[in-house]
Each structure stands twice: as structure tokens, then as C-alpha cells.
């Protein structure tokens, strides 16, 4: 499962965070969660050991989509919602590149929902960082497809009326092979998850809880605060949290739910297995995320399974039938099977 970067040339000399820092001035609002993600990403990239020039970052439109300008690799800041499609073209045609997609909750789930879904389904070898601030930042604060129901914003002065998406559930439903969630305030976790995502061969979706202090400040504050709970998922370990006070069990009805550890038979505590082929347990875990104000949410890798990637299959199919001498083959294709000879005749 560490094959995600196979085919990408390795760097001969060690790289540092500085190598991944471009000369452009970073222009997010002070205190924006994007800063922490950028810094973590730049350090993390240096640890992957691959050549810097073989990384491509494609973004859509939104505050977070300014990201590529700040990383000294190849990159494209594209159009709203379409980054996964553009990245798909890069990934299919260039197996030697490490391809990233940077997107926001509006970019990925609203206008670009269709492309996100199909990129995950196809399992194109790209890593998608979905910056979820539960608001439209760049357009100055309208509600987004992840805003909680009843959200009051400029475009919803009486409260929003539509049920939000849970990006992790969505990705699992879209046949994603790698689905994770992390949070801007935990750099170590962020780095760990992003590294795992990069190393996964196939489409990796990483939802990043990202604070927008300007238009949706403290959207994740409750979660981080004393009353909130981050349920940390670790492969092979029983899911316990809150200093061991709580755990996740599969109850007699087969349902996955949170329970006080003291009240349950330890054998009922779910041991996290991200490699389960069947996604239903990962999906059940994703549903532990509160849909409204976030008081509880699992973070970590929900699912990591192997499935052939679309781009590898495309290239394999071509390799299997490609003529050795394509020029000669092209000539014979152009000639076709039924030709005739014309001789100049007087009209």
C-alpha cells in the first residue's frame, strides 16, 4: 500500500521545507487554518524523498485553492470545482508525477461534486486535500454543503434549509479506496495522514477540518474544547477515547455507537481495521460525526484498501496492444482495409 509514489523519481539529495516554499507572499487572513496545513504540507513533502519537479498540485477556486502558488513545485490554480478532472488528465498521462488536488467544501462538494465522486470511483492515483471550513470563504461567507442545518449567513438570513454532507460518508459511498480526516490544529496527525495518503496508490481523500476565523470562526472549537471529542482511529487498536472513558462498540443490534467504557464488555469494543474490504464499518464510523454543531467526530484513516487504479489500467491496456512501430501502424490504419488505385484518365 506504499505504492502511491512508485514511478515517481527519487531525489538524489535530501530536500527541506524551504525547497517546497515558493517566493510568493502567502495571502490568507491572519489566523486562517490554511497556514498550518501549508506549513505541514511543505515539511511533509520533504520527507517523501521524491524529486520536487515531479510534484504537481492542482486546485480549484476558493481561499484554500491559492495553495499551489505557495509551494515551489509545478501547479495549476484552475477553475471552480474542476481540479479533480484536470488532475485526472495529468495522472493518466504522467505516471511519473505525484499529483495533488487542493479543494474546499464548496469547490469539492457543491460545484465539483460530480467530479469528486467519479475521481474516487475510478480510483485515479491522486491525493485530494479537502479543506472543510463549512463556509464559502472566498465569496465572503455564504453557507456551504457542509454547513450545519439552520446556518445563518448572508445568503441564509433565516437559516439554511438543506441537510449537510458528511464528506467521509460521501467518499465511502463513492467507492473511495483511501478516506481520512484530520484537523488543522494537530500538525502531527495532519502530517501522518497526508503521508499515508500520498503513499496510497489510488484516489485518496483527506478531509481537513480547517478554521475560517473570518466567516465561520470556531466551527470546530467545540470539538477541540473540553466538551468535545475527537475519536482517534488507529489501525489495529480498539477505539477508545476521552482518556479511555468512552469507546466505540458494536451493540447487540449490530449498530456501531459510542458507549461509556465502564459499561461494556471489552470484547464488544470495535478494533479499527482500515483494510476491511467491506466499507460498511468505515461508513458506520463516519456516521459518528455530529451533523450539526460538531461535538464529536472521528479522525484518522477510515479506509485504506487496494484496488487497481484507473490510470494504471489505462496505461496497461495501451501497453498490451500498442504496436512496436507506431508510425508503420498509423500508415496502415490510415490506409484501411479497402483501398483502390486511381489512374489519371482523361475527363
Amino acid at each position: 500500500m506504499t505504492q502511491g509514489l512508485a514511478g515517481v523519481p527519487l531525489s538524489l539529495e535530501p530536500l527541506t521545507k524551504k525547497d517546497y516554499t515558493s517566493d510568493q507572499e502567502v495571502r490568507w487572513c491572519p489566523g486562517c487554518g490554511d497556514y498550518a496545513v501549508l506549513a505541514t504540507f511543505q515539511s511533509m513533502m520533504a520527507t517523501l524523498g521524491i524529486k520536487r519537479e515531479n510534484t504537481v498540485i492542482i486546485s480549484g477556486i476558493g481561499c484554500s485553492s491559492r495553495f499551489p502558488y505557495y509551494v515551489d513545485t509545478y501547479g495549476m490554480h484552475s477553475i471552480h470545482g474542476r481540479a479533480p478532472s484536470i488532475a485526472t488528465g495529468v495522472a493518466i498521462s504522467r505516471p511519473d508525477l505525484n499529483v495533488w488536488v487542493v479543494t474546499g467544501d464548496g469547490d469539492a462538494l457543491s460545484i465539483g461534486g460530480n467530479h469528486l465522486m467519479h475521481t474516487l470511483r475510478r480510483n485515479v492515483n491522486v491525493t485530494i486535500m479537502l479543506f472543510n471550513n463549512r463556509i464559502y470563504g472566498l465569496t465572503k461567507g455564504q453557507y456551504s454543503p457542509t454547513s450545519e442545518l439552520g446556518k445563518v449567513t448572508k445568503s441564509t438570513p433565516y437559516g439554511s434549509l438543506d441537510t449537510p454532507f458528511n464528506p467521509v460518508s460521501l467518499a465511502l459511498g463513492a467507492e473511495a479506496t483511501f478516506v481520512a480526516r484530520t484537523i488543522d490544529s494537530d500538525r502531527k496527525h495532519l502530517a501522518e495522514v497526508l503521508t499515508a495518503a500520498a503513499e496510497h496508490r489510488g484516489a485518496s481523500l483527506v478531509e481537513i477540518y480547517q478554521n475560517c476565523p473570518i466567516f465561520n470562526d470556531d466551527a470546530f472549537a467545540t470539538l477541540k474544547g473540553p466538551d468535545g471529542v475527537l475519536i482517534s482511529l488507529r489501525h489495529g487498536e480498539p477505539i477508545v477515547f476521552g482518556g479511555g472513558e468512552y469507546c466505540v462498540i458494536r451493540d447487540a443490534q449490530g449498530e456501531i455507537r459510542v458507549a461509556p467504557t465502564a459499561d461494556v464488555d471489552p470484547s464488544h469494543i470495535v478494533v479499527h481495521d482500515e483494510t476491511r474490504t467491506d466499507p460498511s464499518q468505515a461508513f458506520a464510523l463516519s456516521r459518528l460525526t455530529e451533523p450539526g454543531v460538531l461535538r464529536q467526530a472521528p479522525i484518522g484513516i477510515f479506509r485504506r484498501v487496494e484496488r487497481p487504479t484507473y490510470d494504471d489500467l489505462v496505461r496497461d491496456q495501451i501497453a498490451a496492444v500498442k504496436a512496436d512501430d507506431t508510425e508503420a501502424a498509423l500508415k496502415s490504419v490510415i490506409a484501411g482495409s479497402a483501398t483502390w488505385e486511381a489512374h489519371e484518365r482523361p475527363a
Binding site: 510568493q24 510534484t55 485526472t88 500498442k322 490506409a335 486511381a342
Partner: protein, 623 residues
């Protein structure tokens, strides 16, 4: 034995129910005719519904072929011969038939009920209403069923061989070579020997029927057409487009990457390119047209030649991404096989009404080259030219084809691949400027002084890492810039880059054999055929007319303004309401006479002939 009569040209139309295999029959007759050496032009015409209700007018599918012993440019207006497989096919096509034309009709379905279905109270085969035509009413279904009796076929399958019986009969009537069809049937049905043998038997029986019965007193002969020496094949516009794209990428040494989403009448390009993995072509059937063009642009960013193929509604969806390609100045070839609009319009019918969309259908000042193919075979050259301009100038290029060119077929002289000029991508390989600190840097928007093409560095090239995107670029560095003067400079530069392409475009040539014409007919795209054919007749009638045809719609040839101004009258026939006329009037301040037809069909050459004669004569009267 029937007498043999020589003709110089014949227009024949096969018509039947959508399920009757008329397209296949027409294709085969065309192939026989092409291999015989006639010049050909075809016009398939089918309903958008895969299977409209049987025996109804909307369910009629037809295929028209014009073949001749001279060089022809259109599938012809009025068929000389109509082969009608049922009452609906007869009714739907009768009014197009030339007076005195031949009707070969299958009588099997001429029941009271079927006639009533299409609103015929009487049987036209019996009531004398077809007196103006030479009618051969045969029970083709019965004859075909009889011919395949020895095979163990269901009644339905047996009657389905009637199209092959008809093909055999027509092949006899027009003295066509049959080997190709026999070979084709053996190969097509290789996996099902019974069906194969039954089809062959029906085909042979049709041929023998002509030979042995005395239904037809004459059989016809159309001699091969004189054509420039060389090896030929028959090709449709969509296939020629696919080959042009492959050749373009091959000549540039680039990976061809197609991102596409199925849509009539463009899908066949996707189909052909998907088959061409043997030539290393990469194809991606995306979830929609936006993703298709996005992936193509991504592939171009990665150093491939990105291509996307679609038709009108798909073009509407791609507009934003094409704008991104204008801004990022990456090569991208966009093929629009136009169909009747607006909205879904008439998917299987042709039109040329997307010209203004191609030129102006994006936000902002967003200029890009637009080319149009004039014939099915010209799709090859135009697609190749689109690839060349896209790569050389780092720009999206729109190529306009249309449903008529896409499905129509012509003889094509095989191109000599070796004599096609290579296309030079000129990738950036090292720094091309200096930073503020004096260090060597890569400036992605540094331009070739001649072409104004920007430097194109491909990911994986060390030291040339850079970011591009849809936000306005600072000149040279490509960094984000909101500077007012810079935006104006960049807007003008994008325009000027387009103007530089004029240097690569040949002057428009005027065809005016007498040198006395005062009327110029200017065409673009597929109007070439009808205009050329109509002008031929106008000239035969003793009048003078000049012709010119535009392949490059943006930018236009350098001499176009002078040419337009040197005629008393310029007529622009278009399958739209005058879109090229609007552009010409605005650009050159010339008076343009519009000639618009939007019937989902190619412009009628006989109608155009009459109208051109009138225009020419009115000019004479004025003086």
C-alpha cells in the same frame, strides 16, 4: 439479358424503418461504388430515436449516395432512384424524388392497416398516383425469405435479410463489383455462420433476381471518375478527424490524449480514438463534458496534446475550461461537430450555428483560433492544422465540423505521411530569464518574439517549476497580478498572439475562371459542396460567379478584406441566420448578402443555383 445503359451520375436513396438496416445497406453500396472508382458523396439521415415505432414516418431512416464518372461535391438534392422498404419510407421520401425517377418498393408491408398508420387511405401502388415515376413494386421481403428458406431462421430473422436482397438487386442494376460485400459479410458475421450464410444467400439471390427475371429492361453503368493518380479509400468526416488528430500528435511527437463525453454526432471520433490504443492513443470517457475538457487540459499541462470532441450542448459546458486554456496558454484542440440547436435541437441533423459561440462564447476577452473543415476528407487536414496551431502558439483551437461532414463519406486520396511537416513543441528545457537577485529563473510567460507563444515547461523538468492558473498573469513571470496596466497589456498580447497566426495562413483564393464575375460567393465549412456544385451549374448556364472558401475563421486570411471589397456583391450561404456575415460586416465594413437555410439539411444546390442566377441577373438589370 438486360441492355446496358451508360450514365454519368446517379443519386440513389435507400429508405426504410430504423430497424431495416438502411445505413448498412447504403454503406455497402457506397463501398462497392467507391472501390469501382466512381466519385461519391453520401448523406445518411436517421431519426434521433433508436427505434421509433415501426412503420411510422418518424421512424424512417435513409441513406443517400451520389456517384458519378466526374468529380462531385455533394450527395445531390433529388434522388434519381428511391429504394423504399415500407409505405412510410415511400411517403417520407417521395416528394424529394426527381420526376420520372425510379422507385423500387417492397410491397410486403402495404396492408390497409400500415397505410392507415401513415394517413394513406388508398394504396399508391394501385391508385395511379405514382404515374410520374417508374415503379418497380416487388415483394422484397417475400423474395428474401424464400432465398433463405434453407436456413434455420426465425421468421423475423429471415425477413431481416431483405436489405441484403435489395442490395444484391441494386448491385446488379448498377453493375457494381460484389466481392467487397461478400468479404464484408463473411467477416461481419464470422461468429454466426447461419446468419452469415443467410445474408450472403439473400444478397446473391437479389443479384440473380435482376439477372434472371425481366423486371428491369436496362441495367446501368457509371464509369469510374477521373481522379488524381494515387491510392484511395472511402472515409467519413469523423474518421478523417480522428486520423488528423492522431497524425497531428504523431508529427509533434506528443502523446495524444482525448477527453470526451458521448454526444451525437461526435461520438464516432471517441469510438475510433478509443480503438486506436494500438497507436498509443489515450482516451478518457469522462463523467461530463466539463471533466472531459478538464482532463484534456490537464494532459496538455503534463506535456501531451489534449483534445476534446463534442457537439453544441457539450460546447456550452466546456466554455469555462476553454477560457482557462486561453489564460494558461496551453495547447488544446476542441472539436465541435455541429448539430441543429438551440438546446438539444435536432441531434442527428446538421447546422452551422455555433460559429459565434466558437468565436465569442466565453467570458472576458478570450480570443482563440477557429477553423472549419469543408468536406469529409478535409476534416483530416483541418484537424492536423488545428494541432499545428495549438502546439505552435500554445492556444486552444476550435475546429468546427458538422453532422453532414461527420457522417458523409467521400473518396480520400491517402496522405503521404512522410511529406507532412513535423510540428515542433519546443519545450522549455532551462531558465529563460533573470530574477531580481540576478539568478537564472524560468519565466513561464516569456514569449517567442515572432509567434508570441509562451514558454512551455513540462512537469518533471528540474528548475522550471512554476504555477499557472486562471487569474490574470503578470507579463513574463506569470505571477498573479491585478495591476491595471498589466491586465491591459496581457489582454492585448493575447489578441496580438492570435493576429500573428495570420502569417501562417495562406491567402484566400478566388475561383473565377472567366475573370468577369461581379458576384462572389463566400462559403465556410460544409457549404463548400453545395456552393461548388451550384456554381458549376450557374457557369454552365452562361453566367459568371466567383467562389472563395474560408477554412480559417479566426484569424482570417490577410487578403480577405481586399477580396470582399473587389466584388459588387458578396453572398454568404450559411446553415444559420448569417453568423459569418455578421463577423465580416463588423470586421471589414462590407455589405454582405445573407443566404440562410436552417432545415437541418445541407443547403440545396438546385435551390442555390436558382437563387444565385437571380442575384447575378438582378445586378445586370441594375446597370
Amino acid at each position: 439479358m438486360a441492355d446496358q445503359l451508360s450514365l454519368d451520375r446517379v443519386v440513389i436513396r435507400f429508405a426504410g424503418d430504423s430497424g431495416d438496416g438502411m445505413q448498412l445497406t447504403g454503406d455497402r453500396f457506397t463501398a462497392e461504388t467507391a472501390s469501382f472508382g466512381n466519385d461519391i458523396a453520401t448523406l445518411p439521415n436517421f431519426p434521433a430515436e433508436i427505434r421509433a415505432p415501426q412503420g411510422t414516418l418518424p421512424g424512417v431512416s435513409s441513406f443517400q449516395l451520389h456517384f458519378a464518372n466526374f468529380d462531385i461535391v455533394t450527395p445531390g438534392d433529388a434522388p434519381d432512384v428511391l429504394v423504399a422498404m415500407n409505405p412510410a419510407a415511400l411517403k417520407a421520401n417521395l416528394r424529394d424524388l426527381r420526376k420520372g425517377g425510379v422507385i423500387i418498393v417492397d410491397t410486403a408491408d402495404f396492408t390497409k392497416r400500415n397505410l392507415a398508420k401513415i394517413g394513406w387511405a388508398h394504396n399508391p401502388l394501385e391508385d395511379g398516383s405514382l404515374g410520374n415515376y417508374s415503379v418497380h413494386a416487388l415483394d422484397l421481403t417475400g423474395l428474401a425469405t424464400g432465398a433463405v428458406a434453407e436456413f434455420d431462421l426465425s421468421r423475423k430473422d429471415a425477413s431481416r435479410s431483405k436489405n441484403m436482397f435489395a442490395l444484391g438487386l441494386l448491385s446488379w442494376l448498377y453493375s457494381r463489383p460484389v466481392e467487397g460485400t461478400l468479404k464484408f459479410l463473411s467477416e461481419k458475421f464470422a461468429k454466426n455462420p447461419t446468419i452469415r450464410d443467410a445474408n450472403i444467400a439473400a444478397f446473391k439471390a437479389g443479384h440473380a433476381y435482376g439477372e434472371t427475371t425481366e423486371t428491369f429492361e436496362v441495367r446501368y453503368q457509371v464509369d469510374p471518375a477521373p481522379m488524381p493518380e494515387g491510392r484511395y479509400r472511402q472515409i467519413s468526416g469523423n474518421l478523417a478527424t480522428a486520423y488528423g488528430l492522431i497524425t497531428g500528435a504523431h508529427k509533434a511527437g506528443l502523446q495524444l490524449f482525448l477527453g470526451s463525453y458521448p454526444i451525437t454526432p461526435a461520438s464516432d471520433i471517441l469510438h475510433e480514438l478509443s480503438r486506436r490504443k494500438d497507436l498509443g492513443v489515450m482516451t478518457f470517457q469522462a463523467e461530463d463534458e466539463i471533466a472531459a475538457v478538464g482532463a484534456a487540459l490537464g494532459a496538455s499541462f503534463g506535456g501531451s496534446l489534449g483534445v476534446t470532441t463534442t457537439s453544441g450542448p457539450g460546447m456550452a459546458l466546456k466554455a469555462e475550461t476553454i477560457g482557462l486554456a486561453v489564460m494558461t496558454e496551453l495547447p488544446l484542440v476542441v472539436i465541435n461537430v455541429q448539430r441543429s440547436g438551440p438546446s438539444t435541437g435536432m441531434p442527428t441533423k446538421t447546422e452551422q450555428a455555433d460559429l459565434l459561440q466558437a468565436m465569442y462564447g466565453r467570458n472576458g476577452e478570450s480570443p482563440l483560433p477557429v477553423l472549419a473543415a469543408k468536406s469529409s476528407t478535409d476534416c483530416f487536414d483541418t484537424a492536423l492544422e488545428a494541432c499545428r496551431i495549438a502546439v505552435k502558439y500554445r492556444t486552444p483551437v476550435i475546429m468546427l465540423s458538422d453532422g453532414y461532414l461527420a457522417n458523409g463519406a467521400e473518396p480520400w486520396k491517402l496522405p503521404d505521411l512522410d511529406s507532412i511537416e513535423p510540428i515542433e513543441p519546443n519545450f522549455a528545457t532551462g531558465p529563460n530569464g533573470q530574477g531580481a537577485d540576478g539568478k537564472d529563473v524560468f519565466l513561464p510567460y516569456e514569449r517567442d518574439p515572432e509567434t508570441l507563444a509562451r514558454a512551455w515547461a513540462v512537469p518533471g523538468t528540474a528548475g522550471l517549476e512554476h504555477r499557472i492558473g486562471g487569474i490574470e498573469k503578470a507579463a513574463r513571470t506569470g505571477n498573479v497580478s491585478y495591476d491595471p496596466d498589466n491586465h491591459e497589456l496581457m489582454t492585448l498580447t493575447r489578441r496580438d498572439k492570435l493576429r500573428r497566426i495570420v502569417a501562417d495562413i495562406p491567402d484566400i483564393e478566388v475561383d473565377d475562371p472567366s475573370g468577369r464575375a461581379r458576384v462572389l460567393v463566400l462559403g465556410w465549412g460544409s457549404t463548400y459542396g453545395p456552393i461548388t456544385a451550384a456554381a458549376r451549374r450557374v457557369r454552365l448556364g452562361g453566367r459568371d460567379v466567383a467562389l472563395a472558401h474560408l477554412r480559417h475563421l479566426n484569424p482570417m486570411p490577410a487578403n480577405l478584406g481586399d477580396v470582399l471589397r473587389s466584388y459588387d456583391k458578396v453572398i454568404v450561404p450559411e446553415m444559420n441566420l448569417g453568423q459569418l456575415a455578421v463577423v465580416l460586416q463588423a470586421r471589414y465594413f462590407v455589405d454582405i448578402t445573407r443566404y440562410s437555410r436552417v432545415r437541418g439539411l445541407p443547403i440545396s444546390l438546385s435551390e442555390l443555383e436558382v437563387d444565385l442566377n437571380a442575384e447575378i441577373d438582378s445586378l445586370k438589370e441594375e446597370n
